[in-house]
Amino acid sequence: MKVDRRSFLSFILGGAAGTALSPLPWKLTDDFSIWSQNWPWTPVPQKGEISYVNSACTLCPGGCGISVKKVDERVIKIEGLKGHPVNDGGLCILGLAGAQLLYGATRIQTPIKKVNGRWQKLSWKEAITELAARLKELRAKGSAHTVACVAGSDRGTVPELFSRFLAVYGSPNFFRTPSIWDSYELALYLTQGTRSMAGFDIENADFILSFGSGLIEGWGSPGYMFRAKGLLRKNGGRMDQIESRLSKTAAKSDHWIAINPGTEGALALGLAYVIIKEGLYNQNFIDQYTTGFSDRKKRVIDGFPPEIVSKMTGISTGTIVALAKDFARARKPLAICGQGQGHLPGNLQEFLAVHTLNALVGNINQPGGVWAVPEPDYIDWPELEMDGVASEGLQQTRIDGAGSYRYPNARYLLHRLPQVVNASDESPVQVLFVVDANPVYSLQDTASVKKAFEKIPFVVSFSSYMNETTALADLVLPNHVFLERYEDVPVAYGFPKPIIGLARPAIEPLYNTRYVGDVVIQLAKELGHAIGAAFPWADYATCLEETLSDNWDTLVEEGYVVDAEFNGTDLADAFETDSAKFEFNNNEIRTLAGYNPVKAEGDEASYPLLLVPYDTMRLASGYVGSPPFLVKALEDTILTGSQVLVEVNPATAKQLGLSEGKTANLTTPKGAARVKVHLSNGIMPGVVAIPRGLGHTAYDKFLAGKGVNYNQLSSPVEDPASGHDAAWGIRAKLSRA
């Protein structure tokens, strides 16, 4: 057959038409897509028996109850525990994503140590022996006091085991990471004489006046605050938010009152002026249960008339007067303070001013008021037997100076640790334990903190994750994560009733990790003598069960023990001051530096704007890094690609020649960063807001390298009254990139 052009084309076209009309191409396309959709890396979840383990969440000090859903021996989901006094079934976004922390990629699977800058695995026995040898050597040299510990809390068995270890070893240098609770505890102590925790009966109040507290953004126990805020609303209560930015809390309040950042205390004093001047205070409470009112009255009347306060805060006198009247005339008014989620202690005089407002209206230890919740007292361990070295070590002043002549009221001043270490020739800390904390990320002025951590010869991290602090450690002794361990939960911050929770393992530990408590006990036994004798328990499990003996059965059964009847101590017995009354003024308060707004660092000419950090529930900014679900749920007005957006008022942006989405350089006296601009009418002109919880250098690709860490741009400012870190922001400059 002759193949000419015509027959060739007919063959090709006819073939094509024929194939197209046959089912072949469609069948092949379909088969191909089905085949490619079944590529083996698309996982098929395995079926199994479904079960639930009731436990407590320890990702923050909120004390929520959780119900862990399992399929065979896999944790598939975490849900809120119904009927729990704190959260009653609801749960925050971080708790809900908690299973991702169990299976996260940056978990440390076995003890490791750094040798010439590289990680090397070692056995638990080797690790503990090595650490014990180092500690023995230091102690023999008489340097016991150079061992320090940074912990996320000072309550509960794990922190108490550490402080006990340090004490019997011979060091006073136990640190708790800073938070607003430092200031709240101190304000309660100074005015009421009790070492107690502030609890807030929000659900029974009828007017919440919040001085910048992120009530529904992680302030206190998020599980409780969300629920309580809902109940406040249901009961017809009102909430006013005083803040320079329209936070979610402000957006969900009845009134948002924008204030010059850092002047919240002045407003509280201005409100007190109006309440006193107009005679709106609770005469009965003032007469019966307080002393020092006339001193306080004089200070307020002399210093804080509405005209002056208006100038400081930027709020009109009319608003100040109206707000004060509304507050004082409410049936159950309650003032709260502490910025955002409360990561920084803040200005002590501001806390005293706000606490005083509650005293003026007589809403202390009353339904709908602020309650002094007694510290948990279940830890009742045998008295320590100190040897000579220990007694001598404990005589040394603390490295941070807390409790010394200069800072008589402060208990922990962790923000001073990097300054002291960097200022010394030889590091005053030779060995540092870090447990449930990530100070390299969470302390302000990252560069200086890093420098200090590099200077400390031996840092031991007990973290389950390779976070920023652990990356700089020399030895890592990984703890079980919260779903794999027993732990007492001694407190739910801000919750008005005494409560103890018990976290229980939902599954067997996945890796070669170990209870921190066990490590401390084993370390003590390795050191022997008085130190070993101070830890009479075989292991942490025994220690925990014996410590909680009275409550153990209830805790195992219910998951918590709550004093539901507690309604604030009766006023007649509530105050442990010399006068047995609430003291507006006393010798200790008199010696404190008076109220002055804390100034942001930096000069106004070079840095015309104010940079303030803000908190969002969708980012974990404590010692836990955000799991992938949180970053996924983040708004595109906070993060785009790997760039963070800062909020700027359109008027300010216009002056700077910036528009929505434009890249800009953000500069502060401490550092610079590239950011994007997000225009928002929910922020005061002249203020720039940046979210906390981004800019991680550690963790996995779902979190690392996204955005900027605010702490890198800021630095601590010492509160003249307490010595705590009172910084609320820093001066900044924003320019087109």
């Binding site: 490619s36 959709q37 079944n38 590529w39 890396w41 698309t42 996982p43 098929v44 979840p45 395995q46 399929v71 896999r74 944790v75 598939i76 989901k77 975490i78 849900e79 809120g80 609801g90 749960l91 976004i93 809900l96 994503a97 299973a99 991702q100 169990l102 299976y103 996260g104 990629a105 529904i216 953004e217 599980g223 969300f226 629920r227 805020k229 809902g230 609303r233 329209l246 979610k248 957006a251 969900k252 948002w256 529930m617 969708r618 679900f629 949180l630 970053v631 996924k632 749920a633 983040l634 708004e635 007005t637 690609g641 359109p650 008027a651 009418n681 929910g682 002109p685 690709k701 779902f702």
Partner: protein
């Protein structure tokens, strides 16, 4: 149909705090994949998404409101949901027994007509293979299948929970399930208690009492605080929103400036 259920939701925007717990509870319940960069929200899959609305005013009169948006499970008129009507593969269907708009992944061939038809952006396409970091596939929920690349997915009202509740009831010799036996993951998780879920046809359910649907007006609510999204499209959705603020209720209809005089939303 007799005894037909019509599952729906009431979301109280006065209570919603915009925390995002519903989004994450949904992701964990329904095996929703995530990627290293999820910031392009047009490409990122999230069955539940919390939007931020504002009153378009300047500082300091500016206000914000947060609006969680699951699939609206449109009934349209007689089950003609916008997406169901356009699907050439019958991969999505309106169930007259429950009022749930389903999505059958193995039938879907990824033409994305439904995405174009959906007025609410609830439908999302799997552009990539769903991959989990090593070890994290352990937390996948076996009651929900993992979707493959190339198909569209959306909120199912956690239908697996309905099936499980029905099975349990059946085992116990019951034919009806109680209100609290079937609740979606987002409803259960909301720490502010803003979401209420149940059968809109059942006058004893909280959703019915809050939404007060008027059968004569295609489910339009008799509650003056309530509105539905883009109600004028006639989609007859089953998600009712409550707000005491007028500008929020108006924003639900994506109105144009000056469009409403005083007649609407009275």
């Amino acid at each position: 149909m007799e005894n037909a259920k019509k599952f729906g939701m009431v979301i109280d925007l006065d209570k919603c705090t915009g925390c995002g717990a519903c989004m994450v509870a949904c992701m964990a319940e329904n095996n929703i994949p995530f990627r290293a960069d999820n910031t392009d929200k047009m490409l990122s899959i999230s069955w539940m998404h919390v939007y931020k609305l504002n009153n378009r005013k300047l500082f300091p009169d500016y206000e914000e409101c947060y609006l969680p948006r699951p699939c609206q499970h449109c009934e349209g008129h007689g089950g003609h949901s916008p997406c169901v009507s356009v699907c050439p593969a019958t991969a999505t269907d309106y169930d007259m027994d429950t009022g749930i708009v389903s999505q059958i992944y193995p039938r879907c061939f990824g033409c994305r007509y439904c995405m174009a038809a959906c007025p609410y952006h609830v439908r999302q396409f799997n552009w990539w293979d769903p991959l989990w970091p090593d070890g994290m596939e352990k937390m996948l929920n076996p009651s929900v299948s993992v979707r493959m690349r190339g198909v569209v997915e959306k909120c199912s009202f956690c239908i697996q929970r309905y099936q499980q509740a029905k099975d349990r009831a059946y085992m116990e010799g019951r034919r009806e399930i109680a209100e609290d036996e079937y609740q979606t993951a987002c409803t259960q998780a909301c720490p502010a208690g803003a979401i209420v879920f149940g059968d809109l046809n059942n006058p004893e359910h909280a959703v019915h009492q809050l939404a007060q649907p008027d059968p004569a007006r295609h489910g339009h609510s008799k509650n003056p605080r309530a509105f539905r999204l883009l109600e004028r499209l006639g989609t007859n959705t089953k998600i009712y929103y409550l707000s005491s603020r007028e500008w929020v209720r108006k924003a639900g209809d994506n109105y144009l400036e000056g469009e409403f005089k005083s007649k609407a939303h009275s």
